[in-house]
Symmetry: D3
Subunit: 288 residues, 6 copies
């Protein structure tokens, strides 16, 4: 007889039963507001496909994804080009996960999708704190007239509630208005270039529910060329890995995302591997 195979095609080792899972991974293949180089829509599929190129075990944390209860749902079905509908889909799905007691981990896709997840989480946790790793401030009022743009996503998050606080790290690109907005708005705390003070901040916000949003372009383009808007002068893989592990281990993370991998700009395939390995470290650090 032919033995049927379990047709699993998700991220390595995230093949646990949904009902048992405490963490649910899902992808949002959207890049509709990308302003420079599109292709982030292929991010989730690439991360899953190439995840078999790394181990499920982390030598850094001495933990194995085989031992973690993570379920990979696959990608949400979303429209190609309407930002507001995409945000709504993400929000609704995230809300369902929260209702079921699951921690949502989202992979993009472009950065605008974070707004959907933050909407759902801010309803549950009005005092949500955003930890934001990015090369770009994403604090524009609008981008070429559009308010729902990857370049405005953090500002849109802040506008959800005056209780939301944002701690930005690695920022090295913005326009003057964004810098001024960050200075004048007490909700925003901008750390330029690197992760300085991350430890202190985590101590300070010890009891706050945290949403960690990682735009992969916080990495230097030498480490991750495969992103839509590469910005020279970023952090190393080691710095990002340690920062992610620190937040996920020490903080009270209630949701997270990894966005802006663009496989169309990743000819060597190395950027996808970087994203896949970072996701493993995030999932393991959350699995306390």
């Amino acid at each position: 007889m032919i033995r049927l195979k379990k047709p699993f095609n998700g991220y390595i080792s995230c093949d646990k039963e949904l009902k048992d899972a405490n963490t649910v991974l899902f992808g949002v293949p959207y890049d509709g507001t990308t302003s420079y180089r599109p292709g982030a829509r292929f991010g989730p599929k690439s991360i899953r496909n190439e995840s078999f190129g790394i181990e499920s075990y982390s030598i850094y944390q001495d933990k194995d994804l085989e031992d973690a209860n993570v379920f990979d749902y696959g990608d949400l079905d979303i429209p190609v080009s309407q930002a507001s509908k995409v945000i709504k889909e993400v929000k609704d799905f995230t809300s369902k996960l929260l209702l079921s007691g699951k921690t949502p981990i989202m992979i993009g896709g472009e950065h605008l999708i974070s707004l959907g997840a933050v909407k759902a989480l801010a309803e549950k946790h009005p005092n949500l704190t955003l930890i934001h790793f990015d090369a770009h401030a994403d604090l524009r009022e609008d981008y070429l007239g559009e308010k729902l743009s990857h370049a405005c996503v953090i500002r849109r998050c802040i506008e959800l509630s005056s209780q939301i606080l944002v701690y930005q790290f690695c920022i090295r690109s913005a326009d003057k208005q964004e810098v001024n907005y960050a200075k004048e708005n007490i909700q925003v705390n901008m750390q330029k270039y690197n992760f300085e003070n991350l430890g202190n901040i985590l101590n300070k916000i010890a009891d706050s529910p945290i949403y960690l949003t990682i735009d992969l372009d916080c990495l230097d383009p030498s480490v991750l060329p495969g992103t839509g808007t590469p910005e020279p002068g970023g952090v190393s893989f080691k710095e990002l890995r340690e920062a992610v592990t620190m937040v996920a281990s020490q903080g009270k993370v209630v949701g997270a995302d990894i966005v802006e991998l663009n496989p169309m700009c990743d000819h060597s395939g190395v950027s996808t591997i970087v994203a896949a390995k970072l996701l493993r470290e995030l999932l393991l650090a959350l699995n306390k």
Copy 2:
């Protein structure tokens, strides 16, 4: 003294004065509804940049673009992600050109932009005939729920007026509904795979105003790999060049476009050269 250079950066030899020009070339860097591989937004810029790699003179037609009155306007300023606004921009600009007595020639960008140009032309010429070169029928009612999609653009054009006729050539990909729609709708005439009967049809519609819309994926992917949705089994460059020249020389062409070049999928650069050369042949054939 430093001699100032004329800062021309348009398509080769299309540097005539706007007021003298009988033909106006413009680009629409939009790919917001692309369903498979995005990047057609970079089409107009690439075609202009690489046009210096070909001659302004055509040995096929024994004509030179230097002797043609074509003005390259550059690209329209359009929003990144809202299809309806893009179509409106294209329509308004095309209408202005028509009011000034100019023939509009548009370079894409994805195929949906043709709807904007056809709207403007159909207002002026209610009995407009569309000559449509494409691998795909583009006759869907909607695509994943979206009616303004590249996959539906010809159907949207047909719906503008019951007087509009469409002659499709080179079609080799569709779903069953599109094929049935084409059979049942008297406005649509589908020629599969190649340009058979093009000569007869041009004779038949001799007095009709023609809009020629060229989706470059009618070419075989060996000739033009650089497109969003390559479809094996297409025509050769020679076949397309001859068909374009025939339509533009014999027909009463009131507008035209060349769409769906995707430079992000054109690693060898050859697809861009194909598009640039085809545009030259089109412009020269229109310049009677």
Copy 3:
């Protein structure tokens, strides 16, 4: 509630139940004897991943894969580097399929895997006829001392039984010994360069069970650069598509394979689309 998605990741529309299927598709991600450019191991995965870029409906045949009973099993689990074990795995799996009354359709991987399928089929059909589309004769006695090599696969098939006949098409590369072997061995019929006489031959062997093995490098490298040993001077997509349809429609095909797609050499992605579309045409033509 979160609605669970069917985690299908196979070739488009080949998601029927195994028990209902009359045709079973499976992949063999092996390229261990590749002598020039390795990477065919990624062929099956790429074909499946990119199959969503084409339609399930064929305008050529007016048939839809949605209406065909094909089950995509996924890839066999095979060792990385031992040819004889891989051939045994393929043979055993094929035999199981035949026992269940399923038609086996295999995607490679390199050409040596055909030997496994032919072994199984020749046991059931001692008078098997091989229809072989390829740029290379694959008739070597050995290749650098190895007898289990992609360069010897057809010779190994012939040696299975003196009843087996081979009809080769599109051959344009061989060494002198192979050419002489073909001339002197009555089991081999070599048609150089193209598909001439294919119709006559199909008539002649009307009642014989046929195994159709398609090495994609029979195509010209302009059409399919993504293969391990590209050989200039091949056939067009149209020629191959028509030949495949003819064999599958008119002949009594009891098994088939499509091998030697190498995604590592397919930077434009077009070769994978060619393979995916050809597979659709094969499956539809077999579905009488």
Copy 4:
């Protein structure tokens, strides 16, 4: 004991002794006047490196390079950037070969190098006939002020002697001045687009010594994207192979070259294979 290997790194099977060879192959890694995309300097090395990917035996001609007396000299040592010195080096080396009774076969590099070889040959054969396969006429008086440019090479050859005749084939790009020059100059015979009349012309010039110069961009860019100035609308590999074989078999060829392969634009590697295979067919056809 360690057995020393013959450190041969030339084109396949061209490892005969210089003194026995009737044909000498040599490379000229020069691209100093390339106007669009440089990189042809890497042509000779790539052709040699990849020649192990094809057979030494030709199924078309039923001949084997193992049986031909060809010696691969390697590359000439030339300056990087001074055209006149390069031409002199090529001329001097070619003259030495002629003195030794060897037939020179040169691989480029850019097209200007042909001038060096033609100079040497025209000294020996004042009634030399050039058979010229190319997309471009190369008949300019000068290119941006330079007279020693790839775009002027055939004109410079014609100017060497009023006895020299040129038969051009496949031409599809020129400026108006070149076309007029060709019409008015009795030394030039231009066949546009393809190889029509090649047979008749070979008959007509049966006794003339022929220099065959093959600019690989006569091929369609789908077949050979890897060239500095790709020009859509060219011939197929089959057409070129047959034309080369016809000239070399029927004509009295006293020298030949294959130029303008640009490996930097050949990401799939297929262009290099095309050049390597064409060279084999040329060498075999010359080996009567």
Copy 5:
């Protein structure tokens, strides 16, 4: 009416009037003496094209190019292959800029072009100091017999006048003769590998007019793979950005260049972005 667009295609925000500009940017698309991988000719065009991918505002310096009086002249018209003519064109143009009181900022192209600019500046400032960032010493007497070569450019500059001093940084490739020449020649001061002592040196030469020449291959190839002669072991983007800013802010810079970007080796596009961002930082730091 159709509103005419200002046909600006220069580097972001460098669209001020020439007469008002204190700084003039110009490109020299020359790579005629490149010895390894050519293509630097496309550097200026690529930097301009991709400059829209970065901000005009620098978060490092809190300055905006919108507020700087920089005019982008475009590229000089230069011959393709004659080094001495190119150097003369660059020298003449630079002299004109100096006469008009403009600071010249040149983008290459290969490193030899610096000789033209230094000639003009050394006429005006006989005590010119060269600050030279590079992986290679460029101190050869000649390169394969050519004295006008990128590999000799600094030696040629030194020979212009015995008053000229050179401070080299990041050097990690040279031959023994160059190292000895540097040791024995009091005009040359070589700092290997990095920017150590840059601050001290700037203090020491506080009143000297400085020409800053930046060969981008001083960067590590991981940061900038897109260069003709990559040399592992270079500095990071951060180190180079800080060094450039330090020289431009503290020194009396009378001219500068950024050379050796090679877009043909920049498949990910990241190298071009690095060059574009560095140019912004240089222009802003000069704008005191």
Copy 6:
């Protein structure tokens, strides 16, 4: 007369006579057990081809390969797909070199080939110490059932003799079993992530014969994307260069290899240059 050129095509300056050489370089173009991305078979050829892009002189060590007695043998003739035969070929060749008093330096190819060299060396030096630079522990008992796999190579080396000691550096990927094996087996000393303690260890093992095996993926993928199994978080070129120099200068190195360069994943060509430069530093440091 035509002056015959010495047909040297080896690694720069390694053209000394075999009999005079104290060091022999050889390549093993094997990648038969590669589990993820194949192509390392092209490593030796690429390193040689591109070695002309670097100097033979090292500014770091102030030594020149011209002054070293190294002979480049070229590549071993090996079967494509049978691991055990390849290992035997490597072992036999290495033994011959040792008999002749030559130091063997091998370039791969995949890591499994090290087993062949270590077998030969361990016969001569039973107390051999392995210095192992790698991202992966390579300590598996078997990999998907195969014991002769790149993923098990160090374990296989250890099993040769209980006297063999292994010092691993830069390890950042393993499964739990490998980590445990390393902890429990006194032959293995694993240094994670970097080269910490390398100096101390060299002092400790001062008199032991050392085999240095360098898997290039110990480097960060930003530095070397061109490898089969890239693993983010590796060391810099500077760190690796210094470590290699330290081992080769201070240790009693009796053999060494550099493996796992994969040119098929090295689109920018930079990885090959990294490997070529590292090889130069190794050869020079060994040349005391």
